[in-house]
Amino acid sequence: MTTETESRPFTAASFYAFLKEGRFMGVRCRENGNIYAEARPLDPVSHSRDMEWHELSGRATLSAFTCISVAPASLEAKGYGRNNPYCTGIVTLAEGPRISARISGVDAANPQNIPVNLAVTLAFDEIDGDDPGLVFRPA
């Protein structure tokens, strides 16, 4: 881990800036090893302030999902909606924590065919620079 990485503040701005650079950076509590896929400045469980950036593999399984037909404005602008639903949900990362993410590369019009615990991987190339939410796709 470079000094430059270590010095970045534990903020969402840093988290999403890392993503744009092609790095999926969570944080780790140095005291008890808890890992979070959000940039938290303190560990909400151990209450330690001794946090460090921790690079995540991007490997995960899909733990729960939904396929949305009534899209918020930001996704409507990308062409999603009634005739083109999108899949989003909760993934469990190989490192343990969960995070919310959009899921691409699945048939969102036929959600009954999307398997539970599907293996997924972070799709850096699908993360939009202007609106950089996490996107995973089948591994």
């Binding site: 959000e38 729960a64 396929c67 949305i68 009534v70 639903p85 909760i90 995070i99």
Partner: protein
């Protein structure tokens, strides 16, 4: 049940009056118009009468007049329009649990000895925005940095909970739809409800309309067949359809709280606040379980402990059915049914008005309507009416009804408020 520290109010608090505006879509009416309507209903229902100038403090639940109506600082406006100034009033914002939390603040204000007579209420004017706008405003109650960028909407988050429940237990799509059918049957009997129609009524209406227009009349075997038809009941966030979602509603609610030792100055049938609980949870991706709201379990344990009762003593419950799956999860979190048994209880009719565990006799958020900031107190009003035997056509046939419960959720369990109310 979670283990909680024993807590007591420093002195008992009673509810002596309740008022609701009509729930629905009212173009031209703003928050203040709705709140005045609710207050006038309250005045009319207080046996001995009440003047706005007799009130010593107010707490107002309001989620987002800021975004819905471009109106911040709503509490003093409500006070002025009631003629309550210069009495202090404070707005409380906890998303869809705003007035549940406002009620709790009012209870503690009286229990502290500071005041004897407190007005608590809630208001939301939602239909001023189109549906997409409302979806975006509601989504702002989720985590804007880590949930919303993933494309999660409120129906989406509860859709994911529904999917997790279906994967873990025997829950299926028909269980969800049956919650809606049951709540509309109750709402039909509630004069204040937004939808005073059963699902069968709505199905017949659609058939009649098709016939009138000379279009092919759809053939549906029954309500479930109708609700399973994607043309009649489109997907919103699979596995949730339109009729799994509470509507967008304009409405207001208020109750009058007083120190129990003066309750008989207002009514000879007060309802006691026997137990209050409130707890805080984390976003779904950080939650302990995907099929349960931990804050609901903890808030329930607090309320039961303070009231000295358990789930089996609850004769009527109003729970936060913002989506049909939320009612099933609530019935498990509150200890009415074991985890995974909630859907079977719906199938068996146990949560119907005629069942042994009546839930949402008002019609719930689904049929009565869900003006988000007003819903927590509106739930309390239904239980108040049931305990006083004033619920009209939907009155429970239970002469031993003593305890009722309300369960009000903000966001996806970021906030949960549970109250136990007691007759007398």
């Amino acid at each position: 049940m979670a283990t909680v520290r024993s807590r007591r109010l420093a002195r008992p608090v009673s509810i002596v009056g309740a008022g609701l505006s009509q729930f629905g879509a009212y173009p031209g009416k703003t928050s203040r118009d709705l709140f005045v309507e609710a207050f006038q209903d309250l005045q009319d229902t207080i046996d001995q009468g009440i003047s706005a100038q007799d009130i010593e403090a107010g707490y107002l639940g309001n989620y987002s007049a800021d975004l819905f109506e471009h109106q911040g600082h709503t509490a003093p406006i409500m006070a002025d329009w009631l003629g309550m100034t210069p009495t202090p009033i404070t707005r409380v914002e906890n998303a869809c649990a705003s007035s549940g939390s406002a009620l709790r603040e009012g209870v503690m204000a009286i229990a502290s000895g500071m005041y004897d007579v407190v007005l608590v209420g809630g208001v939301e004017k939602m239909t001023s925005l189109p549906t997409e706008g409302v979806t975006d405003v509601l989504a702002s109650a989720a985590d804007g940095l880590y949930e919303v960028p993933a494309g999660l909407t409120f129906p989406g988050i509860f859709g994911a909970i529904a999917k997790a429940h279906m994967d873990r237990y025997e829950t299926n799509l028909n269980h969800l739809l049956k919650v809606g059918i049951k709540n509309h049957e109750n709402g039909k009997l509630n004069p204040k409800a937004q939808f005073r129609q059963t699902v069968r009524d709505m199905m017949e209406r659609r058939r009649a309309r098709a016939e009138q227009r000379g279009e092919p009349v759809p053939e549906w075997d029954d309500e479930l067949d109708f609700l399973n038809d994607a043309r009649a009941n489109p997907w919103i966030a699979w596995p949730l359809r339109l009729y799994d979602c509470a509507p967008i509603t304009d409405g207001a609610s208020c109750v009058l709280l007083v120190a129990s030792d003066i309750a008989n100055q207002f009514t000879d049938r007060p309802v006691g606040v026997a137990g209050i609980g409130q707890a805080t949870g984390r976003p779904l991706h950080d939650a302990e379980e995907l099929t349960s709201l931990s804050a609901a379990k903890i808030a329930a344990a607090q309320a039961y402990e303070m009231a000295g009762i358990g789930p089996d003593d609850v004769g009527v419950a109003e729970v936060h059915d913002c989506f049909t799956i939320a009612e099933i999860v609530a019935s498990e979190d509150l200890g009415f049914f074991a985890p995974g048994e909630g859907p079977h209880a719906v199938d068996e009719g146990r949560t119907a008005r005629t069942g042994d565990r009546p839930i949402n006799t008002s019609g719930g958020l689904k049929s009565k309507g869900h003006p988000v900031g007003a819903s927590g107190v509106a739930q309390v009003i239904e239980v108040y009416k049931q305990l006083r035997g004033e619920a009209g056509e939907r009155q429970l046939d239970n002469p031993n009804l003593e305890f009722g419960l309300t369960h009000n959720v903000g966001g996806t369990g970021g906030t949960c408020v549970v109250n136990v109310l007691q007759r007398g």
